[in-house]
Symmetry: C2
Subunit: 726 residues, 2 copies
């Protein structure tokens, strides 16, 4: 392993696969070895002269302790499914419909103090005098009901089967005990986990990197009686609750959260929802706690002479890398699971000097590495998206996970990864960890989460009706401007409405994007009912800024408008309230700069139901009478509306043109800027290297201007990625 | 004209076309002659031995008086289009963007008393101290504005060009003066119009029927600076306002209406909107006034020995035939403009013993009767829809309008109408003005308007994006269950939410239909936030009733549900708030009774975005993961959901099966009930006649059971309509 120091890949190992490991270590340019969930480090490899990553999920690590201490298990609030009272009395079995192998009613929580019964037809809380919990039958008996009103009981449950363990058992056929996760919020539990970790450090002398499968709390997954997932929220805080934490929150914040703050009328504060102030307080409370706990563990690892890596996933609630509190933990390496450009930017764009390592898909698991399936297909589809995003923010390392023995059965895949790693090495060499040159001005994506949820996929409603082949891999359908944006040469930041309320809009922001379905956290929902927000955005555009709205920008029904910035866009959306407004035949403005950018291959997705409400607006594209793309001058600034923007390379290039126009840069000449749909180009000022990448399987030709202003014509093979002097 | 007494058609006449008239009078089985807008009665015909209809639009009749009395013209509130204040001062030209030939600022209304300036970003009224009206420039100057807030001025305007006159000038090329309409609310004006009418009666000795082109106020049409319609509401009360009526309203109801009650944040109380209590009060106030005024005119006609006919359209606001107050007017003949089954039922289903006369489309105008166009196409498309609706409620007469000379240029059309009139005559003979036998139980359509707006087309959002070839003819696109229902053998009534709040649900109602887009008056909007409504519907189904929801039934976001009756349907719609709920692959229940009714030709229109929220629900049809048709037992009753139901004969038959199942009548055997998509059948208990109608141009075969329970196989030619003994 002579070239270990020149490598850049973390290679999964497996007992019995030592020779394969040694072979791939060279071919894949590895410089680190790792175990995975389900595999262990062979002794012969553990002492190699390279980084040894050892996986640890601390809250799952000591199952004997977890079994002995049900009072320290992860807890959460569940609302019973609503039941309609047919008479004056109602018997609610709160866990009916939920997975009985996963949840138990928490008998450490006093029902009358920690549970809540609600009339869901009126929204009222039912007085504790009107109901009782019968522990024997596990039922809540509600008296003096109003017939034909619906009722729910919100109860605290403890989780006796960790969601990841459940997933591996059901999807990957793992046998063995049902794993339980411990909640380190309890001081005794926290102390025990630290003792356990101290011992673990002693027992892993060869480990150079502790690869934390994150720290404390899992994202939210609920399952039904058939063990099927019925609810998922990869960034939800629903499973962070305990009576003790609720008490401490009350002491710290001066008010008490109720069960309704968590069950949220059955919506459970999904990340796609605009968060309430109370829920944001709870998140901050949990973030502080988890950062403290994680900081202690990382400190112990450092004291033992080891680095700390965090895998962004699983029990990562409270340690999301874009949170400012994340930088206090002391993590050395961020590992992200990356399937596309957005996931890559979620990894590479977070602040801090952590090494950024992408764990690629497919994971070496039997769901993909099975007879008759070609894992190269998925990998190539991912890689073409990832590498265009990689151009614009530096990625430091790559890696894989799972069973190497499975991957080794697919020699074509082995060669394919060899190629990926070669390309990655060349990228590292030429970019040297620096950024590509950016164009236009800073682009801000405005939503209800801002920085905290940067580069999180803003799912559109079509996503709910898509059954993906693999539930663990995000596959986005429908509106997807972020994937388009991920591979474009713009400075991007994510800002929230609260940022604007607190600080206004920063001077360096040239274009603001608001994209998402109405009511969602991405569009902004009720924030658009705040005159301060509306005024700030109007002023931003009025004084020269660019505004891009996609799908339902500024959507909030109030004061006669659904699009609150309808005056800026010159548009309105039909929501049954303006049916009397007469449809005028659409006139396309074919002379507009943006109309000239269209190739005819653009895809605007679903019908917009958006119509013109201004005379001085340009329709660039429409689907029948439904406006698909419009542009307008507003004051000294500009606005563009797009009905939907599913990801395609053509749509990505359209987005580039739109952002250039919105930042009034359409007359600038940029070096190494592609205007071809299928070829990306950029250059690195720090290394004076330029690069062009063919996104397609067919040969492509590109005309670009180099740094000296000379035109170059470049011909690329299918999928070719070429580097040149800039 | 020997067979005049046996005729059933009102024939339009035209000077110079006397011979054509005499020929068609026989061939079309006419028994009445009429003049039209733009044509007059030839002297030679006026004395014929048949009914002579003479058109009179009283409020347009005396233009000299109208020109001399601008203070009596129709007035209305218009809101200026919102303007954004870029500084602290804003100058609003209220009528900018509106048709300058149609509207004038009303200088009889004191701006400070009758107008209103609003901040549309906050929704607040701007104090009258902060603005002034400059009569010279026609502008409103607003001071102390908040920059980047939007402002509107709601002003009272008078109309100096009647919308119908404008339509005829722009669409049909009529020249001549711009007609103005008078508002009979003013006592002097009312007295003058009655004097005018008295003289008119004297001057029309040969007239046997005064065909009132209704009475006082026009439906709402707004036009822009290019004279294009920008807003239409055929049943809106926007053009009924005057300072005097507002004062009287205040005296009668004890509170004063404001400009905002009419401009309604720019929505203008469209009929598709859930009406406010204040707007309903205003409607009742106007209805009382118009019924009184119309009653005086009708009384005068009767005193002169003439009958009174009312054309349902044009200036018909306040005299809509389903209003109980309509029966007090004394009208003898209701004339409806009928293009389809729904329009026919809107005419035939109203209470009272008025003769029901359908004025068919196409109107003999150059827009249809032009070279290269075949008017038979439109007429046949209408006729197949109309005749299936005609089977179930008696129609007494038919008629046409316009320029006979135009129609006479199309001999194929003349023959086609001869055929229609023959078929109509046979229908009259066999049905003898009685109803077909009905099946199941009474079906109630529940919306915010109920009886008052019975059989009004419930337009869906797609309608807004459809540019019809002829703006005066309703052409419905998308969801259209009423057209399906119009030709089915059920007792139908329209009920409102207020009916349920006041009186509950009548015992004879077996099935309730709620259909429409969310937020619309048809679905019900905020009414679904009232627990009394939700409870009444749940109880209705729980105790054995049937509930049919189409599109967005019971939609109102509250208490964790968008479909407030989601518990009854077992469904929810995705509105971005439940994106975390995991899509489960749809399982169709092919054994369900309704699944067995499917032919595969059904059309469920747009994707529903509706998903299952119950285990005990049957999915009958889906579009991918979007549920298109579901059925469920709830208590002792049943519910069915349909995503959309555009009109087709297959969909109409599906609706029949659904209503039969919902009324638990699927095991009943009904005589003369068709189960073929393309053939209708029914029978008339009073005359013991049965009939079968082929909807299609191809021969069809039908198996039906006759009254004695015997099966009959009937073969029909294309479009054939056959009568038999039942």
């Amino acid at each position: 392993m002579a070239n270990a120091t020149q490598g850049h890949m973390t290679l999964p190992v497996e007992v019995g696969q030592e020779e394969v490991v040694l072979d791939l270590y060279k071919r894949w340019q590895a410089d680190a070895l790792r175990d995975s969930d389900g595999t262990t480090m062979p002794d012969s490899l553990a002492e190699q002269d390279c980084d040894i990553y050892s996986v640890l999920c601390i809250v799952r690590a000591d199952q004997a302790y977890a079994k002995a201490h049900p009072e320290y298990l992860h807890r959460k609030y569940l609302s019973s499914f609503p039941m309609t009272a047919m008479t004056n009395e109602l018997v609610i079995k709160p866990l009916e419909g939920y997975c009985s192998e996963k949840y138990e009613l928490d008998n450490n929580s006093d029902p009358k103090r920690h549970w809540e019964v609600r009339n869901r037809t009126t929204g009222d809380v039912v007085s504790v005098d009107q109901w009782d919990f019968d522990a024997e039958s596990g039922t809540v008996i509600v008296r003096e009901c109003t017939p034909y009103h619906e009722y729910t009981a919100s109860v605290m449950v403890r989780q006796v089967w960790d969601s990841v363990s459940m997933y591996n058992a059901l999807t990957n056929g793992w046998t063995g005990d049902k794993i339980r996760s411990l909640d380190p919020y309890h001081p005794e539990c926290r102390a025990h986990l630290k003792r356990y970790f101290a011992q673990w450090l002693e027992e892993h002398p060869n480990t150079s990197v502790v690869r934390f499968t994150t720290f404390a709390f899992l994202f939210v997954i609920d399952a039904n009686e058939q063990n099927q997932d019925i609810y998922r929220d990869w960034t939800g805080y629903g499973e962070t609750v305990s009576p003790e934490a609720l008490d401490d929150f009350e002491k710290k914040y001066g008010y008490r959260l109720t069960p309704e703050d968590f069950v949220d009328a059955g919506y459970y504060n999904g990340t796609y929802k605009v968060p309430s102030k109370r829920y944001l307080d709870w998140m901050a409370f949990i973030q502080k706690f988890v950062a403290d706990f994680a900081g202690e563990l990382v400190g112990m690892a450092h004291a033992a002479g080891k680095k700390a890596a965090m895998f962004q996933g699983d029990h990562w609630i409270g340690t999301e890398p874009f949170l400012p509190s994340y930088q206090e933990i002391g993590i050395d390496i961020n590992v992200g699971a990356v399937e596309d450009g957005v996931a890559l930017r979620r990894l590479t764009d977070s602040a801090g000097d952590q090494v950024k390592e992408a764990r690629f898909y497919p994971y070496f698991f039997p769901d993909v590495f099975r007879e008759g399936n070609n894992p190269v297909t998925e990998s190539m589809s991912n890689w073409v998206k990832i590498r265009r995003a990689m151009l614009h923010k530096p990625l430091d390392r790559i890696g894989y996970g799972g069973y190497l023995s499975l991957a080794n059965k697919f020699p074509q895949f082995i060669d394919h990864v060899t190629q990926i790693s070669d390309e990655f090495g060349t990228y590292r060499q030429n970019s040297a960890g620096t950024e590509s040159a950016k164009i236009g001005g800073k682009v801000a994506v405005l939503n209800a989460w801002g920085l905290a949820r940067s580069w999180l996929q803003n799912q559109a409603q079509d996503q709910r009706f898509y059954v993906p082949p693999r539930p663990d891999v995000m596959e986005l359908v429908g509106n997807n401007p972020l994937e388009c944006l991920a591979g474009l040469p713009f400075d991007v930041e994510f800002i929230s409405f609260e940022d604007i309320l607190a600080n206004g809009i920063a001077d360096d922001i040239k274009v603001i994007i608001n994209t998402g379905d109405a009511n969602s956290a991405w569009s902004g929902g009720e924030y658009w009912g705040n005159p301060q927000i509306v005024t700030a955005l109007r002023e931003f555009v009025g004084k020269g800024g660019g505004l891009l709205g996609i799908c339902d920008p500024s959507a909030h029904l109030q004061n006669g408008r659904f699009f609150q910035l309808g005056d800026v866009f010159g548009l309105e959306k039909e929501t049954s309230l303006t049916m009397g407004r007469v449809a005028q035949p659409v006139q396309l403005d074919g002379d507009h700069y943006l109309a000239q950018c269209l190739t005819g291959e653009e895809d605007f997705g679903n019908l917009s139901y958006v119509y013109s409400q201004a005379h001085d607006m340009s329709v660039i594209a429409s689907q029948g009478q439904h406006l698909a793309m419009t542009a307008r001058q507003y004051g000294e600034g500009r606005s563009v509306y797009l009905g939907n923007l599913p990801f395609s390379m053509t749509n990505a290039r359209l987005l580039q043109h739109v952002l250039v126009w919105l930042s009034k840069s359409e007359n600038e000449s940029y070096a190494w800027l592609s205007d071809s749909a299928l070829v990306d180009a950029c250059y690195y000022p720090a290394t004076e290297k330029a690069t062009v990448v063919n996104y397609s399987s067919e040969p492509q030709q590109l005309e670009v201007t180099d740094k000296s202003g000379e035109k170059q014509t470049i011909t690329l093979e299918g999928y070719e990625w070429r580097w040149m002097d800039a």
